[in-house]
């Protein structure tokens, strides 16, 4: 393996890259699955998308060698993606391949690149601008994207705020009611996938009350949008009379929603308490940890996960290379927490939820773990890798992108 890595130097605009061989982080998966590293040291690899011919595209959060998107190919089919080219002069998170185009987002725009039949990018310096002018204020700024099968593009616009207080994350500052942030952020917007220069006025405000969604995916089995919300932070710090450190580390749940046009998921007025199994009023709006008030009418999650684990990617598995129970189920890449401090951090893993008829059919479970590479993550900086992107390859394997070092994992089922 070591030799293979050393040999697998990749050419990237003339710079010879040697894949890091020292990375021995062991990934634990259920029996029958195995994990390999197919590329490494790529930069802050956020989301990842696969083309039907096996080519992978990766969006970098920050430019590396002046490039924000990478195209990876395994020409000699040895399992190492040795041919890496870069393009795109913007950092960001979202990336998707659809109908002969590569879509990629900065923190305020969505572009698309024309692809040829080898899924090579044409006019790499001249992408088409599809959506522009989205809110980007240095907090929850990722613009994750997914596309349906009817020519629509869905974009998350995260709220640049924790709980819409007058002064963000400030003890004693009240919640704004109504929250003005919701007019242009804190929700999902839908645009046409093939129309240029769209902004809010050309888009549809598809769903609201979503604090920050990084992971979202179109569920083709039932043609519905599913999203993963990052729940609010700092309950104990802002309201020490209502919450202790342990409660603050375990509240609120990270939520998976099935989104319909017009969905309201409750942020900032409400959060979901996974123990009481209900939406409760946020303390900024007069909540005491139990009161439901207006939250009784807000949309409920289809799955509730432990708090603060930061779900950064969602993937519905449609392949046939995993055992049958995984078919049409949801994989979720959790980036790992920071808001559980002073308690230890959790969630640097990939989870799985079985689905049947488009709805969860069992409890969530840990699918792949060990990315952090340490027994205990006290502070997020301890984590050597953090799952951030997920895609299903043409080979039926799933690929996980790590945004600490830019390590790309392939998880296969060996039968």
């Amino acid at each position: 393996m070591l030799v293979r890595f050393l040999l697998a130097s990749s050419l990237w605009f003339g710079i010879v890259y040697t894949t890091r061989a020292s990375d021995t982080t062991k990934i634990q998966t259920p029996a029958g699955f195995s994990t390999s590293i197919i590329a490494d040291d790529l930069g802050n690899a956020r989301h990842i998308a696969a083309a039907p011919n096996g080519v992978l595209f990766i969006k970098l959060e920050r430019l590396k060698n002046g490039k924000g998107i990478l195209r990876l190919e395994d020409n000699n089919k040895d399992g190492i993606y040795e041919t890496i080219t870069g393009f795109g002069n913007f950092g960001g998170t979202g990336i998707a391949v659809k109908n002969g185009y590569l879509y990629a987002s900065s923190n305020s725009e969505v572009y698309r690149y024309r692809l040829n039949d080898k899924f090579e990018v044409l006019d790499a310096d001249k992408p088409e601008l599809i959506v522009t002018g989205l809110v980007n204020k240095n907090q929850h700024e990722s613009k994750s994207i997914t596309l349906d099968n009817a020519g629509n593009l869905y974009i998350n616009v995260g709220a640049p705020s924790n709980a819409c207080q007058v002064a963000d994350r400030t003890k004693g500052s009240p919640g704004q009611d109504p929250c003005p942030i919701l007019e242009t952020a804190g929700g999902i917007w839908r645009f046409r996938a093939n129309k240029l220069n769209q902004s809010y006025s050309e888009g549809t405000h598809y769903a609201t009350g979503l604090r920050n969604v990084v992971g979202l995916d179109w569920n083709s089995a039932i043609n519905e949008l599913f999203v993963m919300q990052h729940g609010r932070d700092q309950l104990a710090q802002l309201y020490p009379d209502l919450y202790n450190d342990k409660q603050s580390a375990e509240l609120p749940a990270e939520e998976m929603f099935m989104i319909k046009e017009g969905s309201n998921c409750g942020w900032p007025y409400c959060y979901y308490d996974g123990q009481q199994k209900k939406k409760v009023l946020a303390p900024e709006y007069g909540g005491d940890g139990k009161k439901e008030d207006r939250c009784a009418n807000m949309q409920k999650p289809v799955v509730a996960f432990p708090a603060h684990m930061a779900p950064n990617a969602l993937l519905f598995y449609t392949g046939d290379k995993f055992p049958a129970r995984y078919k049409n189920g949801a994989f979720i890449a959790f980036h790992g927490s920071w808001n559980r401090a002073p308690l230890k951090q959790e969630g640097y893993l990939v989870a799985f939820v079985p689905f049947s008829n488009g709805q969860p059919s069992g409890e969530w479970e840990i699918f792949a773990n060990g990315f952090a590479g340490v027994a205990e993550v006290k502070s997020p900086r301890d984590a050597k890798h953090r799952p951030c992107g997920l895609t299903q390859g043409a080979d039926g394997a799933i690929y996980v992108a790590d945004d600490v070092k830019g390590t790309i994992y392939r998880i296969t089922y060996n039968n």
Partner: protein, 152 residues
């Protein structure tokens, strides 16, 4: 053989003692020493630690290592040990711009902490400047008062 043993073992031990002794004296006297040997104001580290735990810890983490790409670290950081006026103003005004620390960028906005008293700000900054592998002069409540006046 014994002589050799004595020379090899005893001298280094003595050396360690000589080095440790002044530190021990300080520990006994209960003094905490900042840069230039100036003692830190009495009780400031203890009070500052309390403010840190209640206000700063979640984002900057218990070990001051911050959160990669979101919240900047406080460990061995120039902006922490540098200009007191800059640091005081981060607490009074917050910070909405991306900041570069030790070659990495951090983007999450820092909320202003105007609800803290001048004494609390002085204490927590003194604590941060003399913890997390930092060593720098204490910050006084008078310095904070002076900067707070300029806000209006």
């Amino acid at each position: 053989m014994l002589r050799l043993f004595t020379a090899r073992i005893i001298w280094p031990l003595l050396l360690i003692l000589v080095v440790l002794l002044p530190m021990g004296i300080n520990a006994v006297a209960g003094k905490k020493v900042s840069v230039n040997g100036q003692p830190l104001p009495k009780g400031s580290m203890e009070r500052g630690k309390k403010v840190f735990e209640a206000t700063c810890l979640t984002c900057h983490q218990a070990d001051g290592s911050g959160v990669p790409r979101l919240n900047p670290p406080l460990i061995k950081s120039d902006y922490v040990t540098g200009d007191p006026v800059y640091l005081i103003n981060i607490l009074l005004k917050g910070l909405n711009d991306e900041i570069e620390v030790n070659g990495e960028y951090y983007g999450n906005p820092m909320p202003a902490q105007v609800q803290l008293s001048d004494q609390e700000i002085a204490d927590v900054l003194t604590y941060v400047r003399n913890n997390f592998e930092n060593k720098a002069k204490a910050i006084t409540p008078a310095q904070v008062t002076a900067e707070r006046k300029k806000l209006k």
